[in-house]
Symmetry: C2
Subunit: 249 residues, 2 copies
């Protein structure tokens, strides 16, 4: 049950985290299944009056999922009146997930700051639920369960932001193995963009970014025309994260 | 003097607007000069509990500057502890700009949502100051006066966002005359990006976006090799605003 002193929190403000992982050619997201309820939520929480909002987003993520040292990026402030579902709020109280002392805190108007991160799926080994949830799981973004409040909209906005950022930032260093083929990199892009890409254009454009190293090796276990393995040039990759891709303005 | 009932506002939340205009090959921003004080501020204000944050940003902008129907875009939530300058707050109270009844409201911790817009400089004819400011003026972003609190950081973040957006969104339809030359369009980009661009690359890249119409006309008044005039293809331009430039993913 949630029962805390709310005086220390910045009123009407919460944070929500969209944590993406890439696995089996699917884009997945970390969700918490609420105790005794049929809906799920993004890992989220409140902001201490004495702490930066960014700091609190990281603390919330660690507390809810056990994940530390994640590069969380703020992407949007969700500020509509009526964001919260009164049905969801009612059931949280009825099922005893929120104490009656805290009910008025939860029922005030909230705005929420959305954060997202891309994490290496394989490195997330222990997903721990917290006092309000019974499970913490990766869910494919195309097969989402019922989500609390406007969390589906928050997730979609995070995904849209990610799609746009592919136009000026490199991606993949934590999502692919150290060595990968051009088709594997293309699959990552296609999965995020949710559309097929032309093979030759993809290759040409990706090479023009000048962030890849072509190795002497080829993917083994393929009989005919084994594809060449690439690595990211870490130095150039980091430079592009800061200064933009060489093809951007 | 500001003296209002603060019970109707969402506590600890404000909005700030960065309004860019392009004039004389300079990027400018709308600022308010505070009454009897030596610093300036972005047009900003508070959020009614019953209103969407986006709605309130537009209302604030209209109230402070007289500008209506501006497409304001949210770009960041400024959430650091200690954003506000206590010196600035003190002087606002001392100079009677804030009533003593409102002082505790102003002295609480605030987070602020940053919005920005690009407006046609020539269309902004009447800049009206409000109860706390004596002037509302366009200031060149390279010659800024002292700004309140973290407003300089907010302005910089808005500018950085604009630079990034040039990579997947068209720009210029409200910033240039209906017909313009390629060098004029390039100057707009160079001004926003704060760096020179290669003439041939710029032309090639811009034409590849497929949002321009080449007219039969040339800029007159130039003796030799008068440059061709272009227009935006409004339909394709609007499509690119929604779906991204043809060169983006």
């Amino acid at each position: 049950m949630i029962d805390f002193k709310t005086d220390n929190f910045q009123p009407g403000l919460s944070v929500d985290c969209v944590i993406f992982g890439f696995h089996d050619n699917e884009l997945k997201v970390l969700l918490l299944k609420l105790k005794n309820l049929d809906f799920w939520a993004l890992p989220g929480g409140f902001v201490d009056k004495d702490k930066d909002v960014d700091t609190e987003a990281n603390r919330v993520l660690e507390k809810r999922t056990g994940l530390t040292n994640i590069f969380l990026q703020q992407f949007f402030l969700f500020g509509k009146v009526g964001r919260a579902s009164t049905d969801h709020l009612d059931s949280l109280e009825k099922k005893g997930i929120i104490s009656s002392e805290n009910a008025s805190w939860f029922n005030q108007r909230f705005i929420t700051v959305g954060y997202y991160a891309l994490v290496e799926y394989s490195k997330v080994k222990q997903l721990t639920a917290d006092e309000i949830s019974e499970r913490c799981e990766w869910c494919a973004i195309n097969e989402l369960p019922e989500l609390m409040h406007d969390h589906r909209e928050i997730l979609k906005k995070a995904h849209d932001t990610l799609k746009k950022e592919l136009n000026y930032q490199p991606i993949g260093i934590n999502l692919l193995p150290r060595e990968f083929t051009m088709p594997e990199l293309q699959t990552l892009y296609e999965t995020i963009l949710e559309k097929p890409l032309d093979r030759r254009n993809f290759r040409r454009k990706m090479l023009s970014y000048d962030i890849l190293i072509k190795t002497e090796r080829r993917r083994t276990g393929v009989a005919h025309k084994a594809p060449i393995l690439y690595q990211f040039d870490v130095e150039k990759y980091q430079k592009a994260i800061k200064g933009g891709l060489s093809q951007s303005w």
